[in-house]
C-alpha cells in the first residue's frame, strides 16, 4: 500500500468510526476516543497535507488540529443557523468533508500533479 493510499484509508476509517460512534452514543471511552481523534485531527488533515508547505511533523500536525477544529466549529455553526443541527448530521457532514479532501488529495497524486512549489523558497534557494 503506497503512502497516499494509507492516508486515504486512515481518513476513511476514522470517519466511518466517528459516524458509528455517534450513532452508538455510548457516553464512554468507546465513543469518546474515536470522536475526539476524528474531530481534532481528521477534517483538516487532508487539506493540510495537500499544501506540502513543510516537512516539520509538529507543524503539520498542529495545523491539522487547528484547521480541523475550525472546520468542526464552522460546520456546526452553519447547521445551527439553518436549524438543521444535530450531532449525527454534523459528524456526517464533517466525515464527508474529510473523505472528499482525502480523495482529492489521492487523485492529485495519482494524476501526477507536480508537487506544489515551496512558498518560503527553500527549495529554490537549494
Amino acid at each position: 500500500m503506497n503512502p497516499e493510499t494509507r492516508w486515504l484509508t486512515l481518513v476513511v476509517v476514522s470517519s466511518v468510526a466517528a459516524v458509528l460512534a455517534t450513532l452508538a452514543g455510548t457516553a464512554d471511552g468507546l465513543s469518546m476516543i474515536p470522536l475526539l481523534w476524528f474531530l481534532a485531527v481528521i477534517p483538516g488533515l487532508p487539506f493540510v497535507r495537500m499544501l506540502k508547505n513543510n516537512d516539520d511533523p509538529i507543524a503539520i500536525g498542529l495545523t491539522a488540529v487547528g484547521l480541523s477544529l475550525a472546520i468542526d466549529a464552522l460546520v456546526a455553526e452553519a447547521l445551527l443557523y439553518s436549524h438543521a443541527y444535530n450531532a449525527v448530521v454534523t459528524v456526517s457532514v464533517l466525515a464527508a468533508v474529510a473523505c472528499l479532501g482525502a480523495v482529492i488529495g489521492r487523485l492529485r497524486t495519482s494524476s501526477g500533479d507536480p508537487e506544489p512549489a515551496d512558498p518560503v523558497g527553500v527549495r529554490s534557494e537549494a
Binding site: 452514543g25 499544501l51 509538529i58 507543524a59 495545523t63 475550525a70 456546526a76 455553526e77 445551527l80 436549524h83
Partner: protein, 640 residues
C-alpha cells in the same frame, strides 16, 4: 623496501600526535581549552557534563512527578483559605515546581534535545493545571458553568436564537459552543460537565505546541524557543484557559500567526530612518528574499480563511487583535500576502453587521462605551484595591508586579536585540498590537489582562532573547543563574495570581448539589435570588429563570434586605409573579463577598442565619457549603 603494514602507519601517527600534543602542552595556551583539537586516538570515553545527560533529566522528571503525586495525596482542599489554593498545597508541590524549573533551565543551558526538554513543560502543565481538576472533582470558575449552560441550550434546542436574553453574546458568536455541543452530543453525554474541567491542561498543551511552531519562524536558536515556551507557561496567570470561547480562539490565534509567519512572511530590513537612528542596525538587510506567490501560497491563504472565519464568529475580541496584528505585520513589511489582513478585517466587520447584528444593534452604546478612552480602559483594573481583603490585596499586587516585571524584561530584550543589530519586526509588532484592546474598550474591566494575554507569547520571546541575544551569547553560568532568578520571580507571581482566588473559584460538592437541586426542580418562570454570581449557576435549562443578584442590586434595596432580612426576603420569595422563587447562598459567594465586596463582610452569613432561624422559610437544601430557601406556596410544582 616494502610499505609498512597498516598497524605500523597507525602507530606512527599516534607517536607523532603525542609529540605534537606534548609540545603544545608545553606552550602557554592562547586559546580556550575547547578550541584545541581532541585526540582522535584517545579511546577513553568523553566526559559529558551531568546536565547534558538524559539520565540526569529523567531522574529529575521522576523526582518531580513523585513529589507532585505525593502532594496530590496530601492536599486538603478544605484548607483553601485567604490565599486560595496556596494555603492548602503542601511543600512537596512547590518542590516539584522547583525541580522542574531548575532541571529545565539547566537542560536549556546544555541545549538538551527536545525529547528531554518537552517532558518538563508537559509535566509542568500537569502539575499546575491538572492538579485543581484532580483535587476538586468539580468544575472550577463560575463562568465555566455558564458556558456548560450554553452548550446545554444548543443541545436541547438544536438552533441559535440571537434574541435570547440569556447570555446573548454567545448566541451571536457561537463557534466554540457549536463545536462543544457536537462533541457532547455525539459521544452521548448529557452535559459538557463531563469533560469541561479538563479544558485548562488541554488548552495549555495546545498553546504550547502552537507557540513552539510559531517561535520556529522567529528564531533558529533552540534555547530561545524553549525558554520562551517556558516563560509563557509560568507567566500566564490570566486564567483564560478554562472552558470558554476565549481559550479556543486564543489557540486559533496562535496557530494563525504561526502559519502566517511560517508560510506568508519575510524578514524585512529596518526602515532607513530607523537605521539612521540606531547605529547597530545600519549593517542589517533583509534576511530573506520575498518568495514568489504560488498555488501553495493560495492554499495556505485558503486554510487561513477557514480559521479566520471561525475566529471572527466565535469571539468578539480576538478578531480585533488578530486584524490589528495582520495589519501591523503588513505595515512593517513582514507579510508577503498583504490581502490576508484585509480578509480578516472584512470578516470581523462583516460578522458584526450580519451574524452578530442583533447583539451589536442592542449593545452599541456599551460596546463603544470605552472607545478611545485609553487611560480609562487602562485603569479599569487598577483601582478599588482599597475595598478588598488584605490577602487579596497582596494577591492582586503580586500579580500586577509580575505583569510589570514581564513587560520590563521584554522591553529590555527588544533593546538588547537592537543593540546587537537585530531588527525583530514581526515579534515587536505582535508584542505591541494587543494594545488595540485598550483603545477599543475596557472589556468589563479586563482590558489590561487581555492585552497581557495576547502580548505574552512575544514578551516571553523577547525575555528569552534578553538571555540569549545571539547564538554565541548566554553561554556563561551568569545567564543560567539569571534565567533561574527570573523564572523564580515570575513563577511566584503566577502562583499567587493563578491560585490566589481559589476560595471562590472552587465549588465543593455541597454547592454543586444545592445548585443541581434548584436547576433540576425549579419550574419554568422561576425567580432565582443569589448572593453573587459566583457559584455553579446557569448550567442547565438556564433560560427558564429570572435572576436577581443581591451584590448588583441598588444600594437602597440591599440595605433594606440587610436591615430586615426576614421580612424583605419573605416579600421577595413570595412574589406572585413567579411560579417559584428560590434563594441560594453558598460558601463561595460568602468567600467572594468577604474578600472583594461589594456587600459588607459577613452579610451573606448573617442573612443565611436569620432565614434559617425563621419559620417563614422552607429549607430545600442545607449543609456547611450551601443553603437553598423558598417559601411555602400554593402553586403546584412541576415534576421533572
Amino acid at each position: 623496501m616494502s610499505a609498512p603494514s597498516p598497524p605500523d602507519v597507525e602507530a606512527t601517527q599516534r607517536r607523532l600526535y603525542q609529540v605534537f600534543a606534548a609540545r603544545r602542552n608545553a606552550l602557554p595556551l592562547l586559546d580556550s581549552p575547547e578550541a584545541l583539537p581532541t585526540d582522535p586516538f584517545d579511546t577513553t570515553p568523553e566526559r559529558t557534563p551531568w546536565a547534558s545527560r538524559p539520565q540526569f533529566h529523567g531522574l529529575l522528571l521522576v523526582v518531580a512527578a513523585l513529589l507532585w503525586l505525593w502532594s496530590l495525596q496530601t492536599t486538603d482542599v478544605a484548607k483553601i483559605g485567604d490565599y486560595g489554593l496556596l494555603s492548602a498545597l503542601p511543600v512537596t508541590f512547590y518542590l516539584a515546581l522547583a525541580v522542574l524549573s531548575v532541571g529545565f533551565l539547566l537542560g536549556v543551558r546544555r541545549e538538551a534535545p527536545s525529547k528531554v526538554l518537552a517532558p518538563y513543560l508537559v509535566l509542568f502543565i500537569g502539575v499546575v493545571h491538572a492538579s485543581p481538576v484532580i483535587l476538586y472533582g468539580t468544575l472550577r470558575y463560575a463562568w465555566a458553568w455558564k458556558h456548560v449552560g450554553v452548550v446545554d441550550y444548543f443541545m436541547r434546542n438544536h438552533a441559535l436564537n440571537p434574541h435570547l436574553s440569556f447570555l446573548p453574546v454567545y448566541q451571536n458568536w457561537p463557534g466554540f459552543f457549536g463545536l462543544s455541543s457536537t462533541l457532547t452530543e455525539a459521544v452521548g453525554l448529557r452535559s459538557a460537565l463531563s469533560f469541561a474541567a479538563w479544558a485548562p491542561p488541554v488548552f495549555e498543551l495546545l498553546n504550547l505546541a502552537a507557540l513552539w511552531v510559531l517561535l520556529g519562524s522567529l528564531t533558529d536558536d533552540r534555547r530561545v524557543r524553549w525558554t520562551a515556551c517556558w516563560l509563557f507557561l509560568i507567566a500566564n496567570w490570566v486564567g483564560q484557559n478554562y472552558f470558554a470561547p476565549q481559550a479556543f480562539v486564543y489557540f486559533l490565534y496562535l496557530v494563525s500567526i504561526g502559519i502566517v509567519l511560517k508560510s506568508l512572511s519575510k524578514r524585512p530590513a529596518a526602515p532607513r530612518f530607523v537605521r539612521k537612528l540606531i547605529p547597530p542596525l545600519r549593517a542589517t538587510a533583509a534576511k530573506s528574499a520575498p518568495a514568489a506567490v504560488t498555488s501553495s501560497t493560495w492554499g495556505t491563504v485558503a486554510v487561513l480563511c477557514v480559521i479566520f472565519a471561525v475566529v471572527a464568529t466565535s469571539h468578539p475580541l480576538t478578531p480585533i487583535v488578530l486584524t490589528a496584528a495582520l495589519f501591523g505585520l503588513a505595515i512593517f513589511g513582514v507579510l508577503r500576502v498583504r490581502s490576508i489582513a484585509l480578509i480578516m478585517g472584512a470578516m470581523t466587520v462583516g460578522w458584526l453587521f450580519t451574524g452578530a447584528r442583533v447583539y451589536y444593534s442592542s449593545n452599541t452604546s456599551s460596546i463603544f462605551k470605552g472607545l478611545g478612552s485609553f487611560t480609562a480602559n487602562l485603569s479599569s483594573n487598577i483601582h478599588a484595591l482599597g475595598q478588598v481583603q488584605e490577602s487579596q490585596r497582596i494577591v492582586s499586587q503580586v500579580g500586577r508586579m509580575q505583569v510589570a516585571l514581564v513587560a520590563l524584561l521584554a522591553v529590555c530584550g527588544v533593546v538588547r536585540r537592537l543593540r546587537h543589530g537585530n531588527w525583530d519586526a514581526a515579534g515587536a509588532v505582535l508584542l505591541g498590537c494587543p494594545i488595540v484592546i485598550l483603545v477599543g474598550g475596557n472589556y468589563d474591566g479586563e482590558a489590561l489582562f487581555r492585552v497581557f494575554l495576547f502580548a505574552l507569547p512575544f514578551a516571553a520571546y523577547f525575555i528569552a532573547l534578553l538571555m540569549y541575544p545571539s547564538r554565541e551569547a548566554g553561554r556563561r553560568w551568569f545567564t543560567t543563574a539569571f534565567a533561574i532568578l527570573v523564572s523564580a520571580c515570575v513563577l511566584v507571581g503566577f502562583l499567587f495570581a493563578y491560585y490566589g482566588k481559589e476560595a471562590w473559584s472552587y465549588f465543593p460538592p455541597g454547592e454543586v448539589r444545592a445548585a443541581e437541586i434548584v436547576y433540576h426542580e425549579a419550574p419554568a418562570g422561576t425567580l432565582l435570588v443569589e448572593g453573587t454570581h459566583d457559584y455553579p449557576n446557569q448550567f442547565y435549562d438556564a433560560e427558564r429563570f429570572t435572576y436577581v443578584t443581591l451584590a448588583t442590586e441598588p444600594t437602597k434595596s440591599v440595605e433594606g434586605v440587610l436591615q430586615h432580612p426576614v421580612a424583605k426576603m419573605a416579600e421577595w420569595l413570595g412574589d406572585p409573579r413567579y411560579q417559584q422563587v428560590y434563594l441560594i447562598i453558598t460558601r463561595s459567594q460568602k468567600e467572594q463577598i468577604d474578600a472583594i465586596g461589594p456587600l459588607p463582610r459577613g452579610s451573606l452569613g448573617r442573612l443565611e442565619a436569620a432565614l434559617l432561624a425563621s419559620p417563614k422559610f422552607q429549607v430545600v437544601y442545607h449543609d456547611r457549603d450551601a443553603t437553598v430557601f423558598r417559601v411555602h406556596r400554593k402553586v403546584p410544582r412541576r415534576v421533572r
